[in-house]
């Protein structure tokens, strides 16, 4: 038993990991102590763990995403430390492989997506004049299954060893023959559990946006961020089932000995690559389209103008979404599928640049004849444009299959996708968070600190990734744990850039604390002279969002309300509001998913079955749950609104 614990169960022998174990234990003790000392267990359970309020769920998503950004960022810094100089003995090859795998997986699945889904959760119902999402209970299941999936994945670090086959987890390298042990199982089950949540989110927001808009808000009157969320939800709903199936098949391969993707028998390892990217390419647009939506909102607000070419913006997003399902082969042009196939996918991939280019020029057009203010959210959006264009044009270069044979698997590719994912998604998340921050927490983030973190991050980002294009031309392959001496100068530059980015991130996080302590509290709900309906609510937003839902007569609902008069608190027409009840079932059910997942990771079938029974029991409990929510009385609404609107007078 001891032997198993020390040799297989716990990861031993590495000072970095001992350090991590000690800090995990210390932080856990500290959290338990603080919660107990301040008697906050009940508060935590009532207000957060059982909540079905889309705003609180959104905030929890964002907090989790920032924590994951920290973890993924530490991975990145460790990688840069190892790659700065040749012959570095900081990380051995196995450890390096685990770190780049967790870096990629965490950043995409547990950072980028939850960050954007968190913003969607908070903002979309407010933008369409709804009081919650269509399925609030399911929304809580989504969040908790994501949280427990992320926890399971992160656990691999100290228990059993982290996955080490890259975030793409290609077969046969990740199959049962070449990679026995629990590590890859963590990847498969962590993603599977959180993937269930994501799929549910896709369905939830699709229905919410299609069915719960305020009266008069036609599709073409929706705010552009809502449009981007709707299209994203469609992509999620169509793409995620592919991942679910692929993960399930490989799990069966590894745990029950089937031969779908195996090296042996008649397994087809290349089918994994196809299925993975059939999901994986749309996934890229799942994390970029909401960011596009954020930039559109921010640029229009701070240029103080209507969005230029609203219709073209919507249509180009629809086109991008459609094309995103038709380009997956460009991730493996070098597989030798033949000239015809490669030519076709080269052209479809390049075509994506057309609607994307239209969007870039429309953002520029939005600034034309505007009156541009340079607050922090706008800085992130302006930084996005040139940085993303560099990522975009190198994407077109990669799309040219014949040339891709030279770029593939090199640092040219690494530079490209960081250029689009950081400049697009991460800048978008930061822009969105600083933009909607006052609506979430009742105060702005400090402008000065915001600008410092922006400049550190943006300059660091370019210093870090531009040299990598040249490293690609020099023949440096991605995922190598050691560099050749001739690659050293550019790698040193790149590491300097990474340090600048880390400083930018630290300042950003410090800004959250600083603003909480010192920022002036918001007096009105309309911090930035906004244009969409979320700014029509008071700050903080009451749990029912809108006392009365306004009639929408055109695009930019709130802008119009400000000109023509109109309110979300029509005193004479108040009616009791129907709201959903909180529930602990989503949390408990997801905890059982975690138990089942952990059992499957270690192939302990008793634990796995116990977990599955728990999940089923939760479903039964939910099925016989006749609680249809409660009504907020007119008196309570009046009281809440009068108090919230004191500042406006």
């Amino acid at each position: 038993m001891m032997d198993f614990l020390l040799n297989e169960f716990l990861v031993t022998g590495d000072p970095l990991i001992y350090g991590a174990m000690v800090s995990i234990v210390l932080v856990s003790i500290a959290i338990v102590f603080v919660l107990t000392y301040f008697r906050k267990w009940g508060y935590l359970w009532r207000e957060w763990l059982t909540t079905v309020d889309h705003k609180k769920i959104g905030i929890m998503y964002i907090i989790a995403a920032i924590a994951m950004l920290f973890r993924g960022g530490v991975d990145a810094m460790l990688m840069r430390a190892q790659l700065t100089l040749p012959n570095t003995e900081f990380l051995n090859s196995q450890h390096y492989n685990e770190i780049f795998t967790t870096h990629g997986t965490i950043m995409i699945i547990f950072m980028a997506m939850p960050f954007l889904i968190g913003l969607m959760n908070f903002v979309v119902p407010l933008q369409i004049g709804a009081r919650d999402v269509a399925f609030p209970f399911l929304n809580a299941v989504s969040f908790w299954s994501f949280a427990f999936g992320a926890m399971l994945f992160n656990l691999s670090f100290v228990i059993g060893g982290s996955p080490d086959a890259g975030w793409t987890n290609y077969a046969p390298l990740a199959g049962p023959n070449l990679n026995p042990g629990p590590a890859i199982n963590y990847y498969l089950l962590g993603l599977q559990i959180s993937g269930i949540g994501t799929l549910a989110t896709g369905i939830n927001f699709m229905v919410t946006i299609l069915k719960m808009r305020a009266p008069g808000m036609t599709l073409m009157r929706m705010p552009i961020f809502t449009w981007s969320s709707l299209i994203t939800s469609f992509i999620i709903t169509f793409a995620f089932p592919i991942l679910t199936v692929a993960l399930a098949l490989m799990t069966i391969d590894r745990i029950f000995g089937s031969q779908f993707f195996t090296l042996t028998g008649e397994g087809m390892p290349m089918m994994w690559a196809n299925l993975f990217w059939l999901w994986g390419h749309p996934e890229v647009y799942i994390v970029i389209l909401p960011a596009f939506g954020i930039f559109s909102e921010v640029i229009s607000t701070f240029a103080r103008k209507q969005l230029f070419g609203y219709k073209a913006m919507v249509w180009s997003m629809l086109l991008i979404a459609g094309l995103s399902f038709l380009v997956w082969v460009h991730h493996f042009f070098t597989m030798g599928a033949g000239a015809g196939v490669n030519s076709l996918f080269s052209v479809t991939t390049m075509l994506i640049s057309v609607p994307t280019g239209v969007k870039i020029f429309n953002w520029l057009g939005t600034m034309y004849k505007g009156k541009i203010r340079f607050d922090t959210p706008m800085l992130w959006s302006l930084g996005f444009i040139p940085c993303f264009v560099i990522g975009g044009v190198t994407g077109v270069m990669l799309a040219m299959a014949a040339a891709d044979y030279q770029y593939h698997n090199t640092y040219f590719l690494v530079a490209h996708f960081h250029n689009v994912l950081i400049a697009g998604t991460v800048f978008g998340c930061f822009a969105g968070l600083t933009f909607w921050y006052p609506k979430m927490f009742g105060h702005k983030m400090n402008e000065k600190l915001g600008k410092i973190s922006f400049w550190f991050f943006v300059i660091g980002f370019n210093v870090c990734f531009l040299p990598m294009y040249f490293l690609g031309f020099m023949g440096m392959p991605r995922r190598t744990y050691a560099i050749e001496p001739e690659w050293m100068p550019l790698n040193v530059v790149s590491t300097v850039g990474a340090v600048l980015m880390a400083i930018g991130f630290i300042v950003f996080v410090y800004n959250i604390y600083y603003s909480f302590r010192y920022s002036e509290r918001e007096k009105t709900g309309d911090t930035w002279d906004g244009r969409a309906l979320e700014w029509a609510t008071t700050t903080p937003v009451p749990f029912y969002n809108f006392a009365t839902v306004p009639e929408i007569t055109g695009p930019e609902a709130f802008w119009k309300m400000k000109q023509e008069g109109g309110t979300t608190y029509d005193k004479d027409n108040l009616e009791p509001i129907h709201m959903p009840s909180d529930s602990g079932v989503p949390f408990i059910m997801s905890a059982f998913m975690f138990v089942a997942g952990f059992g499957l990771v270690w192939e302990w079938m008793v634990v796995a079955i116990a977990g599955l029974i728990g999940i089923l029991a939760c479903m039964v409990v939910r099925s016989f749950d006749y609680d249809h929510g409660f009504h907020v009385s007119v008196e309570e609404i009046k009281e809440t609104e009068e108090k919230a609107r004191e500042g406006e007078k």
Binding site: Q94, L382, Q406, N409, G475, P489
Partner: protein, 307 residues
């Protein structure tokens, strides 16, 4: 104020150029030694030029917007039009121009894709030399069926003659890449892919597996010695005479996951197993499955093959 910024940006540009020239010295992709790499380089340079035009256009327009339309003291509402919401003519222009650019890039791309599926034109008077390149964790086997010799982790090729690489893998998926000669292609178990390369200049070029294959991936490299036909011929004869034959036991032993030094043999492994055929994936697993339970890690970029 303006001057200060000018000075800074000048310093920045100078530093950037310095780094660039320091880095540019060894870029095999942009300094190819054969027709395949050459056609790819031409495509790359062509696209870089077009792309730089796009990047510059966006930067210029962005700068213009920010300078002209920023809120500044004394501007008031001059040139401010909050109702301005689009311009169909402009939107058509910036849809059509990218379409033209995409077309301009697609045509040479498709032509080159088709060309690369055939041996290079410049040596069409000679039959290509067939070399089987097989990757295994973490080494390369090069089999010359016509010459009946096999090498490990290095190979010799004649210049000015197309080489037809028949690629496959004994285990994980690798990618055969010699940047100085041209682009890569995957090596996969149970199947075969073909890649044509050619060297026009004699020299030693670095080759590697570029597709991640696990713990010793970084050292899964090989050297390509390109030399004149006569020199190549004499190397072949010498290997045929002085190298030992490759027995099946020896081959099985070499297949075990790990790093190998350079070796040569006067027969090939193709007589025992063809990794390019369906069902051959079991060959290595039947012999070495247990060794994947506990793989060693490398440290500090050690180059075991050359120790």
């Amino acid at each position: 104020m303006k001057n200060k910024w000018g000075k800074y940006s000048f310093l920045l540009a100078a530093a950037f150029l310095l780094i660039l020239t320091a880095g540019c010295s060894g870029m095999p992709v942009l300094d190819p030694k054969g027709p395949v790499g050459e056609s790819q380089k031409n495509l790359i340079v062509f696209s870089i030029v077009l792309m730089l035009i796009i990047v510059l256009t966006v930067m210029v327009v962005l700068t213009y917007m920010l300078v002209k339309f920023r809120e500044r003291p004394g501007r008031g509402d001059k040139d401010y039009d909050p109702e301005h919401e689009g311009n169909t003519k402009l939107e058509i222009i910036w849809t059509v121009i990218p379409l033209i650019i995409v077309t301009a890039l697609s045509i040479p791309t498709v032509i080159t894709i088709y060309q690369l599926e055939e041996p290079p034109q410049s040596s069409s008077d000679k039959e290509p030399l067939v070399v089987h390149a097989t990757s295994a964790d973490w080494k390369w086997f090069f089999s010359y069926p016509e010459q009946n010799i096999e090498t490990v982790n290095y190979l010799h090729i004649p210049t000015d003659r197309a080489i037809e690489f028949k690629l496959s893998s004994a285990d994980s998926m690798g990618s055969f890449w010699v940047p100085a000669l041209g682009g890569q292609k995957y090596t996969m178990a149970n199947m075969r892919t073909t890649l044509y390369l050619q060297a026009d200049e004699a020299g030693t070029y670095k080759g590697r597996n570029s597709n991640f294959t696990g713990t010793a991936f970084a050292e899964q490299t090989f050297d390509v010695h390109a030399e004149s036909t006569e020199e190549f011929q004499s190397w072949v004869e010498e290997t045929q005479q002085s190298a030992p034959p490759l027995s099946q036991d020896r081959y099985d032993e070499l297949l075990a996951p790990g790093l190998l030094q350079e070796m040569e043999f006067s027969s090939t492994h193709l007589q025992y197993v063809d990794h390019g055929k369906m069902g051959s994936g079991d060959y290595l697993i039947n012999r070495h499955q247990d060794k994947f339970e506990d793989l060693p890690a490398l440290e500090g970029g050690e180059d075991v093959a050359n120790d």
